[in-house]
Symmetry: C2
Subunit: 198 residues, 2 copies
């Protein structure tokens, strides 16, 4: 099962995704490739595969990404190899932007796609401000982009409002547990029980 | 949101449904009408509305049931009045047989319908035997009916194998929590956040 956690920049995707993976048995994190330089504490191969722009574009040319996108001047992508490797281990969780989530929908229509919403755009603005990597003159454009991204909610299967982190993590875990019991994912086990005798 | 917990007789529907309603905020139990006499400890208006066959058939004629079915000689039904009253209070959980679940699907295609499976038909047989209300000569027919009911799993949204009660209850609670965050149920709140300013 492929689970996407997405939403506008600053909504808290990575924090939520990391907490869910830590908490849930059988859910593995898909490590993205990126051309963005590491932030403090980020580890190559755990948080991202940090690569040069040249290397990234070579991978694009070779068709090695299932999704990729440019976000505020940096390239991000999920390699087919990473996705397949993690799927062999169990369910896989992708922490990606909205453009990437739309690509995943096209390739994997039965993926679970969770859009994180801020409680309000005002709260999102405050979170972006506190993160400190956005010059005040870029703020309006950034919020307009966030609003544009949120408008893509109909392409998602679930919406979670990230108000209290702990509750958000709980809700995402419940979504995953519930989705594991969807009829089409349980079909093989159901048939085995029905046909075991006779 | 309408949640149906269904499955063959003896699979443990009522035990699971009761535990889920006890545990979850905002989920109310839909009390069925039945012509079956009360078992020990069952309370009118809490477990069932116990009515005569004449009264039940009068209600059928008046179109007062959203679903009803005959199960092993007794009539069971969910009245429109009960369902609407409980829906005004929040989400509602129906503990009904497979025929009833199919009627609910027709009337409420977006309902959440959970089919409980036994771990095996052998285990189901043992559970029915221990319940002690089935003469040995009826057992084969009963199991054939159970298998026929289980084959209707494609009309359900979720399948849960009731192996360990506590885990089954947990899984049904997760399904409900996850379904509350489905995109189409969150649409109004999403739109409010997107459009709050401008």
């Amino acid at each position: 099962m492929i689970v996407v956690v997405s939403g506008p920049s600053g909504v808290g995707k990575t924090t939520v995704a990391r907490a869910v993976v830590d908490r849930m048995e059988g859910v593995n994190f898909s490590v993205s490739h990126t051309t963005r330089p590491p932030r403090g504490g980020e580890v190559h191969g755990k948080d991202y595969y940090f690569v040069s722009r040249e290397e990234f574009l070579r991978m694009v040319d070779q068709g090695e990404f299932v999704e990729w996108a440019e976000v505020y001047g940096h390239l991000y992508g999920t390699s087919r190899e990473e996705l397949e490797r993690k799927l062999r281990m169990g369910d896989v969780l992708l922490d990606i932007d909205v453009q990437g989530a739309l690509s995943v929908k096209k390739l994997f229509p039965r993926s679970v796609r969770i859009m994180l919403f801020p409680p309000s755009l005002e709260v999102l603005k405050e979170r972006i401000r506190r993160r400190g990597d956005t010059p005040p003159e870029d703020m309006a454009r950034r919020l307009e982009k966030a609003r544009w991204e949120l408008k893509h909610y109909p392409y998602f299967t679930h919406i979670v409002i990230n108000q209290v982190l702990e509750e958000t993590v709980e809700e995402v875990c419940s979504i995953i547990k519930g989705e594991r019991r969807r009829e089409f994912r349980m079909e093989e086990r159901a048939r085995r029980i029905i046909w075991e005798e006779g």
